[in-house]
Amino acid sequence: AAPEKEAPASGADQSGSQSGAAAPTTGENIKACVVSDEGGFEDRSFNQSAHEGLLRAESELGVEIAQAESGSPDDFDPNIQNMVQENCDLIIGVGFMLQDAMIAAAQANPDIKFALVDSTFVKEEGDKAPENARALVFNTAEASYLAGYASAAMSKTGKVGAYVGMKLPTTAIFNDGFADGVKAYNEAKGTSVELLGWDKDKQDGMIVGDFSNQQKGKELTEQLFQQGADIVMPVAGQAGLGTLAAAKEKEGSMVVWVDADGAEAQPESAAVILTSVMKEIDNAVFDTIQSVLEGTFDSTDYIGTLANGGVGLAPWHDFESQVPAELNEEISALQEKIISGEIKVETTNQP
């Protein structure tokens, strides 16, 4: 991963954003636009997070917004092009699939600012990213490492599970960190908690085949339960809702939600959500919009880490009372070590 410098105000640091809202420094208003990946803005995943960031910018910063959902990869180019035509000042693409289209658009429109979620603007080693473009990437593995450790500790059956919607670097990275976290727990405690549904070495594991089939997500979760897992982390967008439904039906099972804080986003399922691996795309989007508004936009990549709060482990919420204080401390300690660089969470899927 590239070194982090000058990261914009972290998502955890809500107050900072808020204060910025009160006083837009450059008088002029701007238009901020988001182009989604396939899946659309209701995918309960990164598109939705980015969209929420956009909507928050509209309501808090008063910027003009525009949005475009892509139905297929064939829509990326024209959607970005439409945003250019719509005189956007900042165009944010969501997903590494948009990389090529975004690089081309950034190069063709030097007056417009571009930001890309989950991918850099660098295609090949040695290429230079355009001056008007900023990558918004996340080292999610750091946070899911903590989740893996916590899950291993909380599992009563000694088995935890994870699955993805499709095998993509942005989903696999969750599982890689999770796997390392479980391993760390085993090494620390001499246990042999198993992770079902993901093999970090082979980079292979359970998949739904898409990010929308809740029924399949539910059934896969039930099969993980049958194999003895009692905690499951679905990295599958909407399909992950199936896991929540399955967990509610199975006594003693828990879910690790991803992207947003599940207990807040799905309050009706809070009772089964142990914690969430948060990837603060909305904050990154919001901050990027704010930086354009304030004229502080630069082309430095933004890398969300535990250190800058771009990724993180959500509070325990309903499980507060069940999580041993000891574990809480261990997690905090691990977080410190990761932030300080003492522990390096490494995966091939890192941005």
Partner: protein, 426 residues
């Protein structure tokens, strides 16, 4: 053997069927005649009214309009202003996105939407032809989606993996795509010919298999190379379809290929012996068999050709616009193409215009969400309503015509005198 089963009463010609073919009239006259025929006028009004319905749906669900509805009686002018804004926004962004964008600084930019329409129509037209060919032979090839994916896999693989000289590379890639689609069409074909397996079932299943196969391939190093899993390497520069209007437009050679494909399919269906066999096998397989046509072979070849066209349709996104494979490379082209083919009545010229219409709606819809914040799903709704309106208006026109004709003759009959002279036989 049973006479009963075969001597059906003659069906009145289906409302959607074309009128008589005439061969003696000059081409231009024919075009003009179709352009201003009652059915063309009906289609035109059906499209317009479908668009109006689509716009009304937009108005109804527009949050600002809904807000004004709360105090509709207090300040109706707010409501009408907002409703008009939403209503006109639908149309202006549709036109700006698909034909001409007057907000652009340059004329070149203003016409870009029109080229977008063509670019988006390209795969729809070719895939529509694939469906049309199978329909003509009485087969329902739901598998165009899967065949398209296989075309993309083959064509794409050749495009990014091989390194060939200019012209040759793109040619080989296109042929590869055709072969990939044909292969995926061959499977239901051979299963139907040899084992009688229903092509609807087999093609539905092959769609999913193709999609998962592509997803699996995209996780291999061969496909993604040093990039990320889920997206293949970029097509070699020589494998990309050349841009025919220069680099500022996405309009690529595929547009020409689509037009050529229409001509080719027209020739194949209407002027070739194979087309004769195919139409015969579709219209009456028993009679075709009796006339010496190998119906099983014809149906199998039809699915192969249909698949080949589907594979060709994949070159648009694969080698023309996307230039890389992803799991969603086929979008929903294979399914939208069914509607395109049906709207075009399985005739190449009809498919061409239906594809253009859908391409325009897609292009317009994309701008609609960008400029007017209308969910892009409205495009699908509008497309569906267009087809329903056309089907409905044709049905109504057909019924009215029938009634008029009957009335006319009845009147004539009534005027004749009552007396019926009788000869008396021995």
């Amino acid at each position: 053997m049973s006479q009963a089963a075969t001597l059906e009463p003659i069906e009145p010609s289906a409302p959607l069927e074309d009128s008589k073919r005439d061969n003696d009239v000059p081409f231009v006259t024919k075009i003009l005649r179709t352009l201003f025929s009652p059915s063309t006028v009906t289609v035109f009004f059906a499209i317009i009214s479908a668009l109006v319905i689509g716009a009304l749906i937009v108005v109804f669900f527009d949050p600002k309009v809904q807000a004004t509805m709360g105090y509709l009686f207090a300040r109706p002018e707010d409501f009408f202003a907002e409703a008009w804004r939403a209503f006109s926004g639908f149309f202006t962004s549709l036109v700006r996105g698909s034909i001409f964008d007057w907000n652009q600084d340059s004329l070149a930019g203003a016409f870009r939407p029109l080229t977008e329409t063509f670019v988006r129509a390209t795969p729809l037209i070719i895939a529509g032809l694939a469906i049309a060919v199978s329909f003509t032979a009485g087969l329902f090839n739901i598998g165009v989606q899967g065949q398209l994916i296989f075309g993309a896999i083959f064509g794409g693989f050749i495009g990014f993996f091989w390194d060939l000289p200019p012209v040759i590379h793109v040619l080989v890639a296109v042929i590869g795509a055709i072969a990939g689609g044909a292969l995926w069409g061959f499977i239901p074909g051979i299963l139907k010919a040899k084992l009688g397996a229903n092509e609807v079932i087999v093609t539905i299943m092959l769609n999913s298999i193709a999609a998962y196969f592509l997803a699996a391939l995209l996780n291999t190093y061969t496909f993604h190379g040093d990039g990320f899993a889920g997206k293949s390497r970029i097509m070699g520069p020589n494998a990309q379809l050349p841009l025919i209007l220069g680099p500022s437009y996405r309009m690529h050679l595929g547009v020409i290929i689509a037009i050529l494909a229409c001509v080719l399919v027209w020739w194949l269906l209407e002027r070739s012996t194979f087309g004769f066999e195919l139409r015969a096998a579709g219209a009456n397989p028993e009679a075709a068999k009796t006339a010496g046509i190998n119906v099983n072979r014809t149906l199998m070849l039809t699915l192969v050709i249909s698949g080949a066209l589907a594979g060709l349709a994949a070159t648009g996104p694969t080698l023309g616009t996307e230039k890389a494979l992803t799991a969603g490379i086929a979008g929903s082209i294979g399914f939208d193409a069914i509607t395109v083919a049906l709207l075009g009545k399985s005739k190449p010229i009809g498919v061409f215009f239906a594809g253009l219409l859908f391409g325009a709606l897609n292009a317009g819809g994309a701008l609609m969400q960008a400029s007017a914040s209308i969910p892009v799903d409205i495009v699908q709704i509008t497309q569906a309503i267009v087809v329903l309106m056309i089907a409905g208006s044709e049905a109504v026109r057909y019924m009215r015509q029938k009634r008029r004709r009957e009335l006319a003759t009845t009147r004539k009959v009534e005027e004749t005198p009552v007396a019926a002279p009788k000869e008396v036989g021995a």
